[in-house]
């Protein structure tokens, strides 16, 4: 059974992922998260320049029947926000690991990703839920 969760991502127990390239972390929500939420209707994201901390609230995702807080997998400064989600939040259901990334963060503590789960560990975690 192939692992649908990309190997080069790290994962949180709150169902966010981060892809690290150099000192930039691209953040999103996982396939499991969007499935639980249902049809996503709105995403509330921070402005460019906001400072975030690992494990602290980053924003929120709303679906018709539920709302979920987003917690940042890494600490740093928000340098880019995916504006396309404002007009097309449904992308989060279609391509949560790719096109529907949420924010890019310039990381201030790259070492802290060791606290996060690997793809294999996350797969196990999700199956147990």
């Amino acid at each position: 059974m192939t692992n649908m969760y990309p190997e080069n991502f790290r994962y949180t127990k709150e169902h966010e992922w981060v892809r690290v390239e150099g000192d930039t972390g691209t953040v999103g929500i996982t396939f499991h998260a969007q499935k639980e939420l249902g049809d996503i209707v709105y995403v509330d994201l921070p402005k460019v320049g906001t400072m975030v901390e690992q494990g602290k609230p980053l924003g929120a995702v709303e679906s018709v029947k539920a709302a979920s807080d987003l917690y940042s997998p890494v600490s740093g400064e928000v340098v880019e926000v995916n504006e396309t989600l404002a007009t097309a939040p449904e992308k989060l259901n279609a391509d949560p690991h790719g096109e529907a990334w949420l924010v890019k963060i310039r990381m201030t503590a790259p070492g802290e990703t060791t606290h996060l789960l690997s793809a294999a560990e996350y797969q196990v975690y999700v199956e147990a839920e």
Partner: protein, 434 residues
């Protein structure tokens, strides 16, 4: 049915409750009464009150102050008495609630048309609780903690504002009224507003009946990055007065729209705002959409703001709205329509100014259907008028100790010339120089 459950007595259904939690005696209440006795009880209680009948032979009344006597078109009760409206539930199941949802959508639309706002909700409990909700909304939007509220906003609305904001770490400060015009003291507003102010709350017509310069207040607020919250208690005024297009948030009371005064409730409040603040509005919202066959359909929407989903992160804890009462308002607005609402407002204006011209008024500002008159002893005047089955205006000393010898009078389309003349006579006998 007990047989199906294998039980002998109904009491066995709660036999599993701990003995020490049970009420082991009958309730000490009078025995159940027949329909006739109940009807008689309430008629007797009704007869013990002096009530505005609006019809020949009953009491006349000149009270306003947030609750108004307007004629209720017959169609209003005809519609809200239909069981499909009266006994239906919150429209969570869209397929079998399109009646309720459609009428709320119409309500939202008409409130936007009346107030000049882009979006309106499906009603709040009343104007007095919509007021703090508007202040909290402004705080959420701006991230600031100071609220400036005009002292000419309804005194009980300001009290409710204080109760709600006490533990929300919001500082509420009052801006006095100008003793000449009766409108907000603009100089004081300018000196008190700063970069920590989330919003300025202003009511128009204000508690004294004076029409405020909303544009000016909005300019002052916006210059400091604060929001302008427009409040109203007399919805009929919107039929004639320029709507508050410069406001960011509107909150008000719709009791004037065919909702019986009913000793203070139930009423229906409403909140409305500019489009960009839509997601911060508390309360229910009905949206237009389509169904699987491409037909237009309506449903509750943006629910993710509400308590049943967001729980502690909700925009408010509100669950019930005032759907049936809002429906009364919707039918009222439909019966009067575009031309009727204006004509109704014009009649109110004409009646009030007829009486206002005969009395010594306290303030010089423009007024709609309420004004403050000056007299030596308001209580004495009212006692005399009561003998002739006229309820006079509201002596203001209880709310504004600085306005001793002032009384707030309201005239509506239901006020009769003969009664207004009688009031003028009674107050003239007490006339005093300022």
């Amino acid at each position: 049915m007990l047989d199906t459950l294998g039980l002998a007595r109904l009491e066995e259904l709660y036999a599993h409750l701990p003995q020490d939690a049970l009420l082991n005696r009958p309730l000490d209440l009078p025995a159940g009464k027949s329909e006739y006795e109940i009807a008689d009880y309430f008629r007797a209680r009704g007869a013990e009150n002096g009530f505005f009948s609006g019809f020949s032979g009953g009491f006349a009344s000149f009270l306003g102050a947030g609750v108004y006597f307007h004629y209720r078109p017959v169609l209003v009760d005809t519609v809200v008495s239909r069981g499909e409206f009266l006994t239906s539930y919150t429209p969570y199941q869209a397929e079998i609630s399109q009646g309720t949802l459609t009428s709320i959508f119409e309500f939202q639309t008409m409130l936007c048309q009346l107030t000049g706002m882009d979006v309106a909700n499906a009603s709040m409990y009343d104007g007095s609780s919509a007021t703090p909700e508007a202040a909290l909304m402004a705080r959420r939007i701006t991230g600031r903690n100071r609220i400036l509220v005009a002292r000419s906003v309804h005194p009980e609305y300001r009290e409710v504002l204080r109760t709600y904001t006490r533990y929300e770490r919001i500082e509420v400060e009052e801006v006095d009224y100008d003793p000449e015009s009766g409108a907000i003291d603009v100089n004081q507003l300018e000196s008190k507003i700063n970069e920590a102010t989330a919003a300025v709350l202003i009511q128009s017509p204000n508690f004294f009946g004076i029409v405020e310069n909303v544009r000016q207040a909005a300019e002052i607020a916006h210059a400091k990055g604060a929001l302008l919250v427009f409040l109203f208690t007399e919805a009929v005024s919107l039929g004639l007065l320029e709507p508050p297009r410069d406001a960011d948030i509107v909150a008000g009371e719709l009791q004037s729209f065919a909702i019986p005064p009913s000793y203070g409730g139930p009423f229906a409040g409403v909140m409305a705002s500019k489009e960009k603040f839509m997601r911060q509005l508390p309360g229910r919202l009905v949206g237009e959409t389509t169904d699987s066959k491409g037909n237009r359909a309506f449903c509750l929407t943006l629910s993710a703001r509400e308590q049943h989903i967001r729980r502690e992160k909700a925009t408010s804890n509100i669950c019930t709205n005032q759907a049936l009462i809002a429906l009364m308002a919707t039918v009222f607005m439909t019966v009067y329509g575009k031309a009727g609402l204006r004509e109704l407002a014009l009649q109110n204006l004409s009646k009030a100014h007829y009486l206002g011209a005969k009395l010594k008024r306290r303030f010089t500002g423009p007024y709609f259907n309420e004004f403050v008159a000056v007299t030596d002893d308001p209580e004495a005047v009212n006692r005399e008028l009561e003998e002739e089955k006229i309820i006079g205006g509201l002596p203001l000393e209880r709310f504004y100790p600085d306005l001793k010898g002032s009384v707030l009078l309201c005239c509506t389309e239901m006020s009769r010339r003969e009664h207004m003349d009688r009031v003028a006579q009674g107050m003239a006998a007490q006339e005093t120089d300022r």
